[in-house]
Symmetry: none
Subunit: 237 residues, 2 copies
């Protein structure tokens, strides 16, 4: 049978990780749908976006898992997924952060194009087998990446200090998840450069790292978004 | 046709058990979703988690059944499933048990890592064909296992004595299901050690035992969780 990696243990590890990702995303999808009505009307939108994000991610993990099971790998699925879900992750955050509608609109018009640019610039480097090409697009993609993280952490900080109690605490949790998890992506991207293209351990590590980062950045982050929305709705359960 | 077990009767028994598991889990998934609104607002979350647990288990049983039908067995599915669902089983219990939010948070921060440790330590032993390795990881996994069961039974006991009537009775039922069913797992794990690795009867018995235990620990236990939530909502139907 054709497999992506020759080492059967590494091949099975990635196979299981992709199936695990599918299960978590689809589980989170159902959970977020059930939780929509548990928050105040103006935040239901944010929870709905969370549900859409993990639903789309579940679809892509199912595709990646099927591909891996058939012995093929299509990095396009990850980038197609991120192209849809990363702007939505920014949007769901802005919905529950309590910024004014005007400011939110202004932030969206710069942050959403920045996410698209970041992912579009990452893809040519990710699929290239040339180290120089990989580095070039890594550096280019890091520019919008840095801009997004700086802008969001500024917003998170000012929102955290604007609020008190449970709302402030839940915003701090979301900020931590966002900032720590997003760091995994540029590092995972560099695994083939650091360990040489074609190194099976590095390829397996990259796939597993992306999977764990996606679960944290989408499902766990969605729970943090839900917690902010619940705290704002005056319900800390 | 390639089959996992050579004995056709044993092979068909496991095949049917895995299909049975899929059907029960997906049935329970739909049922728990329909029951969410039948309990008070603060317990709906617990019922939603029950639904997610059996939904995810249904996905994994479907995968295991498909694998078995194709003549392969991937023990990774069981462990991926447990890695997601066992922490959730603890969480859904804590939601309906009526412990304070502070105490629940404290319990979660020790119990959830303990479940992850228990399952992570079980996997290397489960997939090993060496008796000594199996015993070693069994003993290691039993340490967090014992810790979890002791902590939960203490919580269940104090919750049971704090409450009266239908609530107290439903908590006792959930406690019994939890404590009895969880005992099946470390025993099922040892079947290949007791009856020799490769013994087909032991392999079939292990698969069937895990399936029955999963149905009890997730679907039946979910009904007990629902009963506690209903009793607490002043509706014992």
């Amino acid at each position: 049978m054709k497999t992506v990696l020759n080492d059967p243990d590494l091949n099975r590890l990635v196979y299981n990780a992709l199936s695990f990702g599918t299960a978590v995303m689809l589980g989170a999808f159902v959970y977020f749908l059930t939780q929509m009505k548990s928050v105040a009307k103006q935040y239901q939108n944010g929870v709905a976006v969370s549900a859409v994000v993990v639903g789309i991610a579940g679809y892509h993990y199912y595709r990646m898992w099927s591909g891996w099971a058939a012995g093929t790998v299509n990095e396009g699925y990850r980038y197609a997924d991120w192209l849809i879900t990363v702007p939505l992750l920014v949007i769901e955050l802005l919905i529950v952060l309590g910024v004014t509608a005007d400011r939110r609109k202004k932030l969206m018009t710069t942050l959403v194009p920045a996410t698209v640019l970041m992912i579009g610039l990452g893809y040519p480097g990710e699929v290239s087998k040339n180290d120089n090409t990989k580095w070039l697009f890594w550096v280019l993609a890091m520019l919008p990446f840095a801009y997004i993280l700086l802008t969001l952490s500024k917003e998170l900080k000012s929102a955290g200090s604007r609020e008190t109690g449970a709302v402030s605490a839940s915003i701090k949790n979301a900020a931590t998840i966002l900032l720590v998890t997003w760091m995994v992506y540029p590092i995972g991207y560099l695994f083939p450069v650091i360990f040489a293209v074609g190194n099976e351990g590095a390829e397996a590590a990259r796939q597993v790292a992306y999977t764990i980062a996606d679960i944290t950045a989408k499902a766990l982050y969605g729970i943090m978004i839900l917690n902010i929305a619940k705290a704002r709705s005056g319900d800390s359960h």
